[in-house]
Symmetry: C2
Subunit: 431 residues, 2 copies
């Protein structure tokens, strides 16, 4: 039984060094991709007024919220970063020339029961590309998502690309029965043709519309999907959307990325939020999606600034789970050196530490009082590769032993010589 | 007047790219120091049960808090990271061998009226060195604080070091009058000898105790303070504390850091929290402190794990304000390249972008439709150093112009030649 003072709330967690290093790894790799594509990081507050998130999360029950003691208004721990960036662009950055390429990495909060792998607090990194209605901007987002997966080391992943306007155009011919519409969407998602037939059969609409909707379940695959979709698209809305998707696909071809992309025109995640192309990222071995994004041309308008926008975000914890499943996590290591010093005065150890650190080598000092064996065991437990031993009984005063904690190999040095060779680069280790 | 949907709560703020880059700069510099000293990052939740923070912030009015809908218990947005790390060490890391060297960088929350430069949300980075009661551990913390200041580029700063046990020993002789004690501490802090005399004169205690307390106002300065303190210290408690301070000072001398350190034995910030050495970091030109820390040997015990500990944290926003005052902020720059492409097909621009990015050069594409002048103005506004121009009227199909947006200097290249030279490193730019 946990005592009250040490309990932690359900759905949040601590990350000791090994896990924290993984999170930092995923974050820094993604941010490096974003930076190379010309995106610049922004920082937004952890909480804002609840209404900022109304468009992205209409169901405020899913939000961690509390009352602002200063104003009595409801505040939300951010459930979504895109809304915050949109609000920021519509206010602080309103007069900045377009396009704006912005990115972020930050925790996100949802009030949900902790399902497998889902937390009340998790970590996202993403981008928003603002001010570009062109299909090239959507292609840029998808290409960056692919490069992000590669950069973190995922070997097997896939991007499912849909177009909500195409789907909306196909559904436009249905009579207005919202209940039935929800069931149809669910059947489409399951690609359940039989259920679709039953749902459609007594609806008062043309056979063409019904055939189109039935046909959606087949619109899943690579380039050939575009041809099949063209044969089904009857409305102007769907035709325009398909033309847009075709242009995005063309740019992805120039990028050489079509192998990673699956078109899925029956998919409708985020139907309320997105306004065009949208996509989901999946990795082999992981059921949940790693990330996703799409075009959201109407969100900024809700903050009083009509402006086209597209973007995506990854869930870092899901990326790490996928890397684990694919056995592609980076190896965990502790500091490179542990300085174990038995001299009563510590100046040699301090000079040694300063020398190593000045060259960028992580070096910890084993200040604790214990025997050599205890210190070496500590080094191994902490993943410290080398021990530097000074002042052992029988050891010369101005000497040190460099011990590889993995192989046990020991090399003696004069302390001054060792420091000189580290400074000159004659002695060097990969960091 | 802000419309409700775009308002932001008082005391929190957004950071557009320029400010976010500064924050990231300060954070990454500090984390690099921590890493070089052998510390490893941990991640703790943004909120925990309020009682976790009771020792560090007894006044829960200063905490941003809300009710956990799952349990009905009070949750707090972290007002302090040390308490969270202590709780984590006492639970998750309880069986890890000591010492533990842990560090973090994360936002912190306080419910306070926004005074000058103080926010409800601000950013800290710090370390906890756990399991070492030795004075060398305190010296390590102070040495790291000095190196942190240097690493971020502060030219003029100072570390004020106190010892709460010394001060407590000096006050032990006072009769138990809590009201008077508070006034005495306030006068000590102001180094107001006259007020002290008035407060002490009618108190029933020995002249020796009174002289000792009066003398505290003079115990401010460098090494000589240790001698003067020795003459005043009557109690065993103060003598022990002074001996501890002397040993810390000796290690700082070996580190070559005593010029940066001011001893201040009348200071008593955090009297309730700290159990020995403590310190505050100040920078020239900034009234507020940048950071601080000290020994807190009793905190882990409150989570059921008796263990010595010392540490410190910096406020990143205060570091940035100090750098601004000292005109030492790093220069803000946008991506290195903007690719401006007037060709109808985009494959040359895409190859160019891919080439530059593969060598780590940030390159954005100007997908928007406008004339060259518009694009060049955009590049300058965004702090983009070079424009790469393709497909202008009159320009050869396979050529590009590299334009320095600062000097206006233009250099023509064949696209293929440019890419080759970038790949081979014959063309290179500092990043």
């Amino acid at each position: 039984m946990d005592r009250p003072a040490t309990a932690i709330p359900q759905g949040v967690r601590v990350m000791p060094p090994k896990e924290a290093a993984r999170l930092r790894f995923a974050e820094s790799r993604l941010l490096s991709v974003f930076e190379r594509w010309g995106f610049r990081e922004v920082v937004v507050p952890t909480f804002e007024y609840l209404e900022v998130f109304a468009a992205a999360l209409p169901d405020s029950e899913k939000v961690e919220k509390f009352v602002d003691r200063q104003t009595g208004r409801l505040l939300a721990l951010r459930p979504d970063l895109t809304s915050q960036v949109a609000r920021m662009v519509a206010t602080t950055l309103r007069h900045h020339p377009l396009p704006l390429r912005l990115c972020y990495a930050a925790p996100v909060f949802r009030h949900e029961m902790a399902a497998e792998g889902r937390q009340r607090e998790f970590h996202q990194a993403g981008v928003e590309l603002i001010g570009l209605p062109q299909p090239e901007a959507d292609a840029e987002a998808i290409a960056m998502a692919v490069e992000s997966c590669r950069e973190v080391g995922l070997a097997r992943f896939q991007i499912d690309v849909g177009q909500v306007e195409f789907l909306r155009g196909m559904l436009d011919g249905l009579p207005p029965r919202p209940d039935r519409r929800g069931e149809i969407l669910a059947a489409l998602r399951r690609k359940d043709a039989l259920a679709l037939d039953l749902l459609l059969q007594d609806l008062a609409c043309s056979e063409g519309v019904k055939a189109g909707i039935r046909g959606l379940t087949e619109l899943y695959g690579q380039e050939e999907v575009l041809e099949r979709a063209e044969a089904l698209a009857a409305s102007e809305r769907s035709k325009r959307a398909l033309e847009n998707l075709r242009r995005v696909y063309e740019v992805l071809r120039v990028y050489g990325l079509t192998d990673q992309v699956i078109l899925d025109l029956a998919e409708h995640t985020g139907l309320e939020y997105y306004t065009g192309i949208f996509f989901q990222v999946f990795a082999e071995g992981l059921g949940a999606q790693l990330g996703g994004g799409g075009r959201y041309d109407s969100l900024l308008g809700q903050f009083g600034y009509e402006c086209a926008a597209t973007g995506f975000a990854f869930d870092l914890e899901q990326i790490l789970r996928a890397l684990e499943k694919q056995q592609a996590l980076p190896r965990d290591t502790g500091p490179l050196f542990l300085i174990i010093d038995f001299h009563p005065d510590k100046w040699q150890a301090l000079i040694l530490a300063r020398t190593l650190r000045s060259k960028g080598y992580p070096a910890a000092r084993d200040i604790i009082v214990r025997d050599l064996e205890g210190s070496l065991t500590y080094a191994k437990t902490c993943g410290i590769r080398y021990a530097l031993i000074l002042g052992q009984p029988g050891q010369q005063t101005d000497s040190l032993i460099l011990r590889d904690t993995e192989s046990g190999k020991e090399t003696p040095f004069a302390v001054a010589q060792f420091c000189e060779r580290v400074m000159s680069g004659a002695l060097a280790w990969p960091t």
